[in-house]
């Protein structure tokens, strides 16, 4: 199915999109997109969150039908009504969120949907070994997927696709969760696949990846093609302008972080308005030797100790699943640690209820906005004043109009855009939801400590900047902030000081300075920090 492709053929179009449009209700996610993907190339698809990249991938993979327009594979009309048709046409996709069954083994995941009758687990394990050798993707065939690291899980995803010998491999933001080393090896696999004659569609918004891997690139903005490039590595600036309509050197810190400009090489280092000196306020939050095991008895947190001072933003960097979520729950009072203590100022909060945490002055922007941060079926106003409905009651009755008026004011102050205070929270965009949560937490009386767990996940660049500004503003008021993030660029941009968590331990601390990037990356991967040139802390 996948014969080596000759030069003449490699310039031919493998997949052609012709005026592809997709509407969701009144919203047009993708509007008259023309795009050609050739065999043997790595084609990067760029764009901000919400620019239509995922929609495009989903249309190609048959998850949704297009509203208008046509697709062709090798010149023949291609109208998939489901992923099955896409797979039959030789199109495989690695989704942004893994599509693996955690409870099953690696080989079972590989066989799912691909075999009939009695399972030949040994035979598939051998095939897995063969592919692993060819692409340098080693995997234990009988390991349970839930026990693998994020990087290994993605390897399973890719192997799953490669086993089909696809003609087109779609990777939807595959590097968002990976460590620097893993990203490099992934890009290597992409190159290898393209050299063997298949096409790769790599969705990303990281400039370094384009520089390293892309043969051609297409930029989407607001559902339309904003630019295409035959030599993207040389045209980074033009592509960025097309993507966000701003020049590289005028990027603000949020965009620089989102795009990974610091990694992108020559165009390095937009000016950073970051206060490098660590504010010397009094200690606010003390996490003292906290440990926790999960229901299986596995250690999730192992003697975590961290002190935050007033006005200080501490970034907790780490690959997801290294204990951040557990620490977040403990800091929110939703779970008591197995051992260790937690102090806010002089007050011992260990084992107290969440309400005690709130009253003591702890604000929480939780990792899972929908499940813990807000009630999606209630209005924006109700969500903003969820913990303060008492302010709006008279004789035990809720004065809704008074609450709406106050909420409207808050929404203006925090730039929460919705049809009104009575809009259903779930209808808001991710950025506006997060701003509403921040509005609630930051205006709580007596706020002393704010936990922001993965606060910008899934937000577009504009909203990211707004969230950073709100966090900084809180810190300048003297609030201590713990920013938990798996995006190294994010903590480098926002935090004063960075602590690295690995397998439930704080394995190191560094001042927030791009020059420590490699050391921090290595610690996130569980390696000892490499020897680094002495950096005078004042130089930044």
């Amino acid at each position: 199915m996948n014969a080596p492709v000759t030069d003449a053929k490699s310039s031919g179009a493998l997949l052609e999109l012709d005026g592809l449009t997709r509407r969701f209700g009144a919203f047009t996610a993708l509007s008259a997109v023309d795009l050609t993907i050739r065999a043997g190339e790595v084609h990067c698809l760029l764009g901000e969150n919400g620019a239509g990249k995922s929609t495009l991938c989903n249309l190609v993979f048959g998850m949704h039908p297009p509203s208008e327009g046509e697709m062709r594979v090798e010149g023949k009309p291609y109208r998939p009504v489901g992923p099955r048709d896409a797979l039959a046409a030789g199109i495989a996709m690695v989704h942004q969120h893994f599509s693996l069954v955690d409870e099953m083994s690696v080989v079972d995941n590989l066989m799912l949907g691909r075999v009939r009758g009695i399972l030949d687990r040994r035979g598939w394990a051998r095939r897995l070994d063969g592919l692993a050798e060819r692409y340098g993707l080693a995997l234990a065939p009988f390991a349970r997927v839930g026990d693998l690291s994020i990087g290994e899980r993605q390897r399973v995803e890719i192997v799953k696709c490669l086993m089909l010998e696809p003609r087109l491999l779609i990777l939807d933001e595959p590097t968002a969760v990976l460590l620097p080393d893993e990203i490099r090896s992934l890009l290597g696999v992409c190159r290898r696949v393209a050299e063997e004659g298949a096409a790769v569609l790599l969705v990303t918004h990281k400039l370094a990846e384009i520089r390293e891997a892309a043969d051609r690139a297409t930029v989407l903005r607001q559902g339309q093609v904003a630019a295409t490039s035959e030599a993207p590595a040389r045209e980074i600036e033009r592509l960025v302008r097309a993507m966000i309509r701003r020049d590289l050197d005028t990027l603000d810190s949020a965009m620089a972080a989102t795009l990974g400009v610091a990694e992108a090489g020559p165009a390095e280092k937009p000016d950073k308005p970051k206060p490098a000196e660590i504010p010397a306020g009094p200690d606010v939050l003390q996490i003292d030797n906290i440990s926790q095991r999960d229901a299986d008895g596995a250690t999730r947190l192992n003697g975590v100790t961290l002190t935050l001072r007033a006005g200080e933003i501490v970034g907790l960097a780490g690959v997801e699943g290294n204990g951040q979520s557990e620490l977040g729950l403990i800091l929110a009072g939703l779970r008591a640690p197995d051992s260790g203590r937690l102090f806010l100022g002089e007050q011992d909060l260990t084992g107290r209820k969440p309400t005690a945490f709130t009253q003591a002055g702890i604000g929480i922007v939780p990792e899972d906005r929908h499940r813990v941060g807000a009630i999606v079926d209630m209005s924006v106003a109700e969500n903003i004043f969820l913990n303060r409905t008492g302010d709006f009651t008279r004789f035990g009755l809720l004065r809704r109009q008074a609450m709406y008026d106050a909420a409207a004011e808050m929404m203006q102050r925090f730039d929460v855009r919705a049809t009104g205070p009575d809009a259903r929270f779930g209808r808001l965009s991710g950025g506006n939801q997060q701003k509403a949560v921040l509005a609630r937490e930051l205006t709580a009386p007596g706020l002393r400590f704010l936990l922001a767990a993965q606060p910008t996940r899934g937000l577009d660049v504009g909203a990211v900047e707004a969230v950073y500004a709100l966090i900084r503003e809180a810190a300048s008021r003297g609030v201590a902030v713990l920013l938990i993030s798996s995006e190294l660029d994010e903590v480098l941009t926002v935090a004063h000081r960075i602590a690295v968590i690995y397998r439930g331990r704080i394995v190191g601390e560094r001042p927030s300075d791009p020059r420590h990037r490699n050391a921090i990356g290595a610690m996130m991967a569980g390696q000892a920090a490499p020897e680094e040139p002495a950096i005078s802390e004042k130089a930044a």
């Binding site: 992923p83 996709m93 599509s99 799912l112 949907g113 009758g117």
Partner: protein, 305 residues
């Protein structure tokens, strides 16, 4: 306890565990696919009633068995249609169906049998397998059973094999743990769940006919009497694995058999306490007191794209 009494105890434990086992394996198949099939009680009752009426009307227990299977089919189809196609709440539809079937079978029983409620219904005879029956003391008491008992054992082994060693098995597991992934693998969550519910219906109906024409050769109103719920508890007790579910069913069966055995050996335990035993065990299981529970992650969650 003498050997003879022990043999009788084992024999009746097996007999009492069998309908539970068939139903629990059926329930397990649905639950592994992500459907909490509460209507199993109704499916069993429909099967029991259909089996009784079929056997009585035709005089043949084998035809009765067939009628029993057919009687549970509409229940399974409605359950599957409501929960898989319309994505209704699985627990609510299940409970609704149970009440509907209880009402329908009670009404139909009174209409059909009316005054003849004492009438005996032809049922399957007990049968002793050749060599096993020759074992002294235990042979007759343990192995003299309705052939359905042996069929049930075969069904359980088959189910375990299919779940563990075949493509359908991993697809069912994926439907229950991570339906989105299953769909991305190019398989239909709906088809798998629909099929799983029909399979549950058939196994539950078999369990029901076992009650009416395999075991006691009669039908009484609401005769399943919570056996379906006990089967659900057995699946939880069994932590959603075939092996442990089988163990759970035999524990429940033995607990029921004890009611009849303890008085026989002269132990004075209040009868009410013994009747309560299987339910008490089930309660402990459901309350999570027997080991850690790892339910399929998408259990009872309708699948939406």
């Amino acid at each position: 306890m003498t050997a003879a009494l022990l043999a009788v105890f084992i024999g009746s434990s097996i007999r009492l565990a069998m309908p539970l086992l068939l139903a629990a394996i059926g329930e397990l198949i649905s639950e592994r696919a992500g459907v909490l099939n509460m209507s199993i009680e109704g499916m069993m009752l429909a099967g029991a009633f259909g089996g009784a009426v079929g056997a009585w009307a035709t005089g043949s227990p084998s035809l009765g068995l067939l009628v029993g299977l057919l009687a549970a089919l509409p229940v399974a189809l409605i359950q599957a249609f409501l929960t898989v196609v319309l994505r209704a709440n699985q627990i609510v539809t299940g409970l609704g169906l149970n009440i509907l079937v209880l009402g329908a079978t009670t009404l139909a029983y009174r209409e059909i049998f009316g005054a003849r409620s004492r009438e005996t219904i032809p049922g399957f005879p007990a049968w002793t397998p050749p060599l096993l029956g020759d074992i002294p003391v235990f042979g007759e008491a343990v192995f003299r059973q309705v052939w359905l008992v042996y069929a049930a054992i075969v069904v359980v082994i088959l189910a375990a094999f299919v779940l563990r060693q075949t493509a359908i098995g991993i697809a069912l597991t994926a439907a229950g743990d991570d339906p989105r992934t299953l769909e991305r693998a190019g398989l239909s969550v709906e088809a798998l769940r629909f099929g799983a519910i029909l399979m549950t219906g058939m196994l539950a109906a078999l369990a029901g006919t076992f009650l009416s024409i395999g075991d006691i050769h009669t039908f009484t109103e609401g005769m399943t009497n919570g056996a379906g719920y006990l089967a659900i508890a057995a699946v939880i007790f069994g932590n959603w694995t075939v092996g442990r579910t089988v163990v759970a069913c035999f524990v429940f069966g033995a607990a029921t058999a004890l009611q009849f055995q303890l008085p026989a050996i002269g132990l004075d335990v209040p009868n009410a306490l013994l009747i309560m035993m299987p339910y008490l065990l089930a309660f402990l299981a459901v309350a999570g007191l027997v080991g850690r529970q790892t339910a399929p992650r998408a259990l009872a969650t309708p699948f939406r794209r």
